[in-house]
Symmetry: C2
Subunit: 144 residues, 2 copies
DNA sequence: CGTGGCATTAGAATAGTTCTAAAATTGATC
DNA sequence: GATCAATTTTAGAACTATTCTAATGCCACG
């Protein structure tokens, strides 16, 4: 990149600085994935993201999508949400909030209510540290 | 079974009545599974239960274990707990409580604290009904 | 410009679960 | 008790999400 003006125009610049801020080494694939992830707040599964990335012309392998999402989650860039039944979502909104999971449609929906009071680290089982605390309310369509 | 006295002596009688109370048709396999499940409050995965049943001499197929646990959960006899990473646990303690899941050991541990306030059905997404509401706090061993 | 180390890749492997089609069991009926 | 329809059980194949593997590519630095 030539100068600062260029950088501001360049849609990838923001992704680069987000990654750099978290000490994540920037590569083409990571930039691509970050750009898509942060284009809007959203919930994606690795598979959905893989499709999104690749239909944008680029080619990123499934393994890299998994690795990259795992790395981003580890660095606090996205939140990993486990909804059971072998599915994992990644949420680009890392603020404290919880979810509904519709088992019929596979949709993950933000919960507006703040239901879970502060969680105290001192109460964790002996010798463990918290990784994540997910409240997932599983729902299904009424008519079924 | 011959008479009521016999039934009281018979360890399977309790399982039978538990099943009957929930309108579950009793079969040998279901009785076996129920007996093991309710011998003590515990968390089991289908695979663990399958091993338990079969090392007790009987032979019950994996498919039946899955079907039966699913049926019991549907009828409210056990609680299904989704901890992510493709594992499902069944908890013979159906009272409201939540769990720690140790990702290193695979253990599911009861949480003593009552962290989640009453959940209001009216706040569910349009056209859906609640299935389960699980708060799972994922922890890992400190030294890793 | 060569070397070391990480990143990426395709495809195989794995784990948990569900599906399938056939065989067995059940209770109801003769 | 034999017969029937309905349900349950079964073995194993199929499926899905994810992780592993081993080879290849890429970049930074000397």
């Amino acid at each position: 990149m030539s100068d600062f003006g260029d950088k501001l125009q360049n849609p990838t610049y923001e992704a680069d600085s987000i990654l750099a801020d978290k000490g994540i080494f920037v590569t083409n694939q990571r930039r691509l994935i970050a750009t898509i992830l942060f284009a809007r707040n959203q919930h994606v599964t690795p598979e959905q993201l893989h499709a999104l990335v690749n239909q944008s012309g680029a080619r990123v392998s499934k393994a890299t999508v998994y690795n990259t999402l795992g790395l981003f989650a580890e660095k606090g860039l996205v939140r990993e949400i486990h909804v059971g039944n072998a599915k994992t979502f990644y949420d680009s909104n890392t603020s404290r909030h919880h979810h509904f999971y519709n088992v019929d449609t596979g949709d993950l929906i933000d919960m507006k209510q703040r239901l879970v009071p502060l969680f105290l680290h001192t109460d964790l089982p002996e010798g463990t540290v918290m990784e994540t605390a997910d409240l997932v309310v599983r729902v299904r369509n009424k008519a079924s």
